[in-house]
Amino acid sequence: MSGSSADPTGDAGGDPRGDSTGEHAGDADGVAAVRERLDRVEDPELARSIVELDYIDAIEVDGDSVEVRFTLPTAWCSPAFAWMMATDARDEVEALDRVREARIELCDHMHGEEITAGVNARDSFGETFPDADGDVAAVRAAIADKARVSRQREAVRTLLDAGADPEQVVSLVRADLTIAGDEAHVDLDGFSLVVDAAPIADYLDRVTTSGHVTEPADTLFLTPEGDPIPADELDVVQKRSRLATVNMGGQGAVCDALHRARHGPDGPDGSGPKYVDPSDGDRSTYDGDEFTSTWTLATEE
């Protein structure tokens, strides 16, 4: 790369916006590897990959150092969420053997400068935002919990559809479950129910990570509060988990509309260039005395 530039359109020469992703062709393999790692980073609110959501503006690989620039749908997305994505992106990219250092730049965000500086200096969220209430870990836990509830719905539905009754479902423990390839075997009072492994494994993954279900004797399915489910309340728990899913999608719809309002009709799902020239497109710029555009980010070099 030819230097780290704050110019969001890149500086590779030629048409600065010829490539909507802003990637440089110089190290195509390296860029692809970085992109693959970034695909593991989720927008915590939507539980979807930041690559899939098209947040990544540019990946630049220069030997063993990498620069990633990304933009969120709105400049006022939660700083804690933005921080999570930025640190996760840095850690994922640095997990590549060939990468010594990843520099992450959050563009066009109300706290873009603080987050960019804090993440790259390896500061903590608390050091970067001394005024913030609560820490990132608590926010992560709250979000992970919504994902847990949402995934449980699919897993429970899979079992009910396969013929298990509510009493059997709520009394299942971890040891009743075995994943074998693309099948999940569920021990129901001595006979085995075989279902598609994907929704079950996805749920297990979430509850294991969250610590809700770790021991063989742990109850498998839980209320949003983490308690065992009375059989006659399984239906209402399922409806609450539907609600959690609807909620995630609702926020996605708001974010998407705001993104389009700021960046034009082609973003984020369209094929057009994501960036809009700050001089004609960025309404967040205030031409009064105090507020300077959030597009202009200081570089560190």
Binding site: E45, C77, S78, Q251, A257, A261, R262, Y286
Partner: protein, 353 residues
């Protein structure tokens, strides 16, 4: 009044503002960010041909507001929800006093809510008494994410807030409207957390808690609280705008609200001037649930349900006699100005019948 399938629907827009975001009124960069964020909501969810330019949006004034709300009979009445933001705007963004100028010109058409901020302490309690005395406010609009000096917000379940809610109960200010919804730049997202409504609602069963924006993006927390607290209501502002470009999503949200709260606790609001009822009412009235959604939620968006959501539920909360209003509106100033007498069974209407 809106007419659907031969039925007349009396529309009370439960959420309107008369704001001033002209640059001379802005004293903090947050004021500009706030307005710009509103404008993104406006353009993001408004059909292109209905979008306003930014200068109009900064300050549209009483006259345009009157015409937008009532000119084509989109709304029959409207409820003012003040948003002070004194740290951002010299004269405030949208105060009770600013709203009162128009509300007092057409008292039959507007409901005027006040506001409080528990951080104002004793002075705030006196101000609340003053609002009751001066304007006989039936409710307050609360902005828990409002900045005040170093503070970036407050909670409805705090001791200070409870003191103000007690005062509301004492004064007969029954309708507590709380903004619990999408983040608005530059306000702190966490200050919009809906969970503090839970304790407040169960501690003050004599008050009604209307959660504006139905808690989005905490719809799940909101619905679960509302399912347990019978005095919690959902205001549809922002959610209703999804009926423009996100009809399926709108149907899904309505399905959840009808399932958890039922049809008696949902109130329409345009959030004017974020969105304009002159087109939004039409969008909402014509929204439909998909067959799949009807099946999943076991609910319908039929005319009777919509009558409640669009007006009857608000009428119940604000003691509005809809039939008496219709008679009054046959010849009030608004009907004369916009030639609406026929909408309320006046001369033209009688001839048509």
């Amino acid at each position: 009044m809106y007419e659907k399938d031969g039925e007349e629907i009396f529309v009370i827009d439960g959420h309107v503002h008369l704001w001033d975001a002209r640059q001379e009124n802005i004293i903090h960069e947050g004021g500009e960010q706030f307005l710009q964020c509103f404008y993104d909501y406006h353009t993001g969810f408004t059909p292109e041909e209905e979008q306003w330019d930014i200068d109009t949006y900064r300050h549209y004034g009483a006259d345009k507001m009157t015409e937008d709300l009532f000119g084509n009979a989109a709304a029959d009445m409207a409820v003012f929800q003040p948003t002070y933001l004194d740290d951002f705007y010299d004269e405030g963004f949208n105060t009770t006093e600013q709203n009162a100028e128009l509300a007092e010109e057409y008292p039959e058409r507007f409901v005027l809510n006040g506001s409080f901020d528990p951080r104002d302490g004793e002075e705030g309690l006196r101000y609340l008494e003053h609002l009751k005395e001066e304007y006989d406010i039936p409710g307050v609009k609360l902005y828990t994410a409002e900045w005040r000096g170093d503070s970036k917000g407050w909670r409805l379940d705090s001791d200070d807030a409870f003191e103000f809610l007690e005062k509301c109960a004492e004064l007969g200010i029954e309708n507590i409207n709380a903004h619990k919804g999408p983040t608005i730049r530059p306000l702190n997202r966490d200050a919009f957390d809906v969970k503090d409504v839970d304790d407040a609602a169960s501690s003050f069963p004599e008050l009604n808690f209307i959660v504006n924006h139905v808690g989005l993006p905490r719809l799940d927390d909101f619905c679960w609280i509302a399912a347990q607290e019978p005095n919690v209501y959902g205001g549809l502002a922002v959610a209703s705008a999804m009926s423009t470009h996100r009809e399926r999503k709108f149907g899904e949200i309505m399905g959840e609200l009808l399932f958890w709260l039922g049809e008696d606790r949902i109130l329409f609001g345009s959030d004017y001037a974020l969105w304009n009822p002159d087109w939004l009412v039409d969008q909402v009235m014509n929204a439909e649930l998909t067959d799949e959604q009807k099946d999943e939620y076991g609910v319908e968006l039929d005319v009777d349900t919509m009558k409640k959501i669009m007006g009857e539920n608000a009428a119940e909360l604000y003691d509005i006699d809809i039939e008496a209003k219709k008679r009054q509106f046959r010849d009030d100033d608004i009907s004369e100005r916009f030639d609406l007498a026929d909408h309320y069974g006046g001369d033209a209407g009688a001839a048509a019948d």
